[in-house]
Amino acid sequence: MIELEHVSLSFAGKPAISEVSAVFPRGSFTCLIGANGCGKTTLLKLIAHLLKPESGKVRFDGRALDDWPRLALARRLAYLPQTRPLPALPAYMLVEHGRFPYLGFAKRLTAADHAAVARAIGATQSEALAEAELPVLSGGERQRVFLAAAVAQETDCLLLDEPTTYLDTHYQIEIMELVRQLHQSGKTVLMVAHDLPQAFTYADTVCIMQEGRLLAAAAPQALCGSELLREVFGYTLRRSTDAGALYPYYLSR
């Protein structure tokens, strides 16, 4: 369980996150939505302990993040940033790096680690990509392999920053179906999303942010068609009656 208690952070005097309080229960699937620059990514980084709040507390399983040993936290919480360097590595080696928090001083993989890597590659159906170097993979394949690394990390919580941005639609669906599978296997998922119909389709809770504030956190059904969406985004969402629709929600004026 992740708890935020009056969390605030500013960059160069400009508030980025203001007084955010929220609870993300174990096993939930939450999407953070809001306009660009509203603080979604910053909030995710605060939860990933990559940033520290100026005031307020972030807790994971009842313990403040500052009190977690680095490696112990990394065994519970995996984070996938939106942009990252792309070293020339074969994909399986990236997945092996997902085992880093479990390795001893010499940082050598044991048989158990190799088994976890194989499981992660299997669970993400990335067997065919394992030998390829990261720079030659397509965007969707890369995302799949990075997810495999996060799976190999065997955390119970997955923090994703816009995992489907820049991807073709069918890759977006593939990645989101994979995230849904991971959620169903018991992981808590917290995801920054930019595509509203997609977020509403997969999440069980949607958090709307604006200018560093958390305006609402509710089930997609409750927010669907709301005036709040219209205020924040300029349009709202409606349920589609088309049985063949990719997402059962569509954007509407």
């Binding site: 940033p81 080696m93 880093f100 194989a118």
Partner: protein
């Protein structure tokens, strides 16, 4: 593809590379002791090394001229190659190397300064070189981080830093020529002035740096995934980077104290090894160490033989090898994308 086939292809390719490089290194080491102004037959060299010298002159040549020089090649080559590997990883810049980003020049200035203020104190000299190298590493890293400088900018900044320090060295050496016993050897990089003393003082820096590099290699692997990914995998990113820089500085300082401003080993060796063996730093540390020693030994033997009885500083040969390679890296856009 079934999982089993992945595990079977998982073992890193070219397992023979390390034994081959080690064997070549051993041969080159023997050749380096055997060849020179007065060639010694190999059997005699081996017997002398085993403590059964046929005569005193052979003993003297082997133990006071050839052996320290050959070991100096091994130490300096290893140190520069591994320092280059570490700097490339930590700066996320494939063009970085101790020579190019100005670390060697910084250590060199420190060496000349300490020769000026504390003549004859070799202990102070190596320590000063270490401080100089470390200072430059931190400076370059701070510049790269603060400005988000591109690969090329970092290289240009290195050129500027190197020029300033070389100018300072020039000034001191012009006014006090006695500061450097062998000027050409120091500037271009060479092993003519090597003796047991300089090895004794610089060796520990190289060996400790190498040991630290081996211990850090698994963490460096994660560091190259970027700060955010590395931190979320539980790596203490800043501490790790600090230790890696410290380690690179110790290695570069040791090399400068032994061989002067030897360039390009730290650039080309990590590149070639990465190309041959992949991007696993646990392997790369050993491979670059061996290959760095090999290439330096080889070039030093050539430097002694090419224009015998005249000897050219080994740095000249390394420049002929390394500078075209550097140009190739600058111009090759495809590889650039892979490493950025």
């Amino acid at each position: 593809m079934p999982i089993s086939s992945i595990s079977s292809t998982r073992s890193p390719n070219r397992r023979w590379l390390a034994p081959l490089l080690a064997a070549v290194g051993l041969l080159l080491l023997l050749a380096s002791i055997s060849l020179g102004a007065a060639p010694l037959p190999l059997p005699e060299v081996v017997r002398t090394l085993l403590g059964q010298a046929p005569d005193t002159s052979t003993y003297n040549i082997v133990f006071f001229a050839r052996l320290p020089r050959s070991l100096a090649c091994v130490l300096a080559g290893t140190a520069l190659a591994v320092a280059g590997l570490l700097l490339q990883a930590v700066l996320n810049n494939s063009l970085a190397s101790p020579g190019i980003i100005g670390v060697n020049a910084g250590a060199g200035l420190a060496v000349v300064l300490s020769a000026f203020f504390f003549p004859g104190l070799l202990f102070v000299r190596t320590l000063a070189a270490f401080a100089g190298a470390f200072g430059i590493c931190l400076l370059v890293y701070a510049v790269a981080r603060k400005t988000g400088a591109s690969r090329i900018t970092l290289v240009l900044a290195g050129v500027a830093v190197s020029s300033i320090f070389t100018a300072a060295i020039d000034t001191l050496v012009t006014l006090y020529p006695e500061l450097l016993m062998d000027r050409a050897s120091f500037y271009i990089g060479g092993f003519r002035a090597v003796d047991w003393d300089s090895l004794l003082f610089a060796g520990p820096y190289v060996l400790l740096g190498l040991a630290a590099a081996v211990l850090l290699a698994g963490r460096v692997n994660v560091l190259i995934l970027g700060d955010e990914v590395a931190a979320s995998l539980g790596l203490a990113v800043e501490r790790c980077r600090f230790l890696v820089i410290l380690c690179a500085a110790a290695l570069a300082a040791g090399a400068v104290c032994i061989a002067g401003l030897l360039g390009f080993v730290g650039l080309i060796v990590p590149h070639i090894m990465r190309l041959l063996a992949g991007n696993d730093h646990r392997r790369l540390v050993w491979l670059t160490a061996l290959a760095g020693a090999d290439i330096t030994l080889f070039c030093d033997i050539l430097a002694r033989l090419l224009f015998a009885p005249y000897e050219i500083p080994v740095g000249i040969l390394l420049s002929f090898l390394g500078a075209p390679f550097f140009l190739y890296l600058l111009l090759n856009r495809q590889r650039r994308r892979c490493f950025d």
